[in-house]
């Protein structure tokens, strides 16, 4: 598992390479319909944002992933009604296994 500082280091390498001053294509913002390259401050914020997103995806991404994969409450109730609790538990367990917590 990567630390936040490790994600920051990786993001810095990736984003520094994008600066036009480093030969990259640049990152741009459009302010009230005027497109311009990021300032140094914008690039620093992009590094922090990128690292934070990657770190949070690593630590908490399983929550959204599980939510997406769980059947609807109606379908879960239907599963219990027709096939019993053990069948329902197997379906839920499969979702958990497919999207493990980082500590698992």
């Amino acid at each position: 598992m990567a630390t936040l500082d490790e994600f920051k280091s990786a993001a810095r390498t990736e984003i520094e390479a994008k600066k036009t001053s480093n030969g990259g294509e640049g990152l741009y913002k459009t302010v009230n319909n005027v497109r311009m390259e990021f300032s140094d401050e914008d690039y620093e914020q992009a590094i922090l944002d990128n690292a934070t997103q990657n770190y949070e995806d690593q630590e908490y991404g399983y929550i959204d992933a599980r939510r997406m994969d769980y059947p609807s409450i109606e379908d879960q109730l239907d599963e219990i009604f027709h096939n019993g609790v053990d069948s329902w538990k197997a379906i839920i367990q499969q979702v958990k296994d497919d999207n493990p917590k980082p500590s698992e």
């Binding site: 741009y28 913002k29 459009t30 319909n33 769980y70």
Partner: protein, 173 residues
């Protein structure tokens, strides 16, 4: 004239841009933000929003938001996030035709330096990877006092907005 919308600023994106910033909130009126036909340059990239102060995004971890997410093929549910650096407006988005992001949002108390700033939003979108339709309905608050003059729309993972029309209207009283 009472009872009308006044266009404050509009931005049409046709070349990749990492952020769209719309400013011009300069009164205590409610403002309406409209995003029409936005696409990303990569699949499964979500879109987020921050408020701006003097034209620069407020990046502190002072945003709280709550919304209900509705999907056509996955479990729907509520999301409650506190003390974060932006407001998440979508699932991963689309890159091509029929997978656009469209939104209307209202900005409250932005120009009141003695109150928190509020946003109420509702959007509809589809992603490309699964063809999943999603809709987020909710709102957020920047819990620091101070005047805000606009919004910043971005993906924090490094993806670009490839197209879309972004407009900010003042709701005249």
């Amino acid at each position: 004239m009472a009872g009308k919308l006044s266009l404050v600023t509009t931005t049409t994106v046709s070349s990749d841009t990492a952020q769209v910033i719309l400013t011009g909130v300069d009164s205590t009126n409610v403002y309406m933000l409209v995003v029409q036909g936005m696409y990303m340059d990569g699949t499964n990239q979500d879109i987020r929003i921050r408020f701006t102060a003097s034209g620069s995004a407020v990046t502190s971890s002072d945003y709280d938001y709550r919304h209900y997410t509705l999907y056509n093929d996955a479990s729907s549910g509520g999301t409650i996030i506190n003390n974060t650096g932006n407001i998440d407006l979508s699932q991963g988005l689309g890159t091509s035709m029929n997978n656009a992001f469209n939104m209307v949002a209202y900005l409250h108390n932005f120009n009141d330096s003695s109150q928190y700033s509020y946003i109420i939003y509702e959007n509809i979108h589809r992603n490309t990877s699964q063809g999943r339709m999603g809709s987020f309905h909710g709102g957020g608050i920047l819990q620091t006092t101070g005047a805000n003059d606009g919004v910043q729309i971005l993906n924090i993972g490094g993806a670009n907005i490839s197209s879309g029309v972004f407009s900010l209207y003042k709701i005249e009283e």
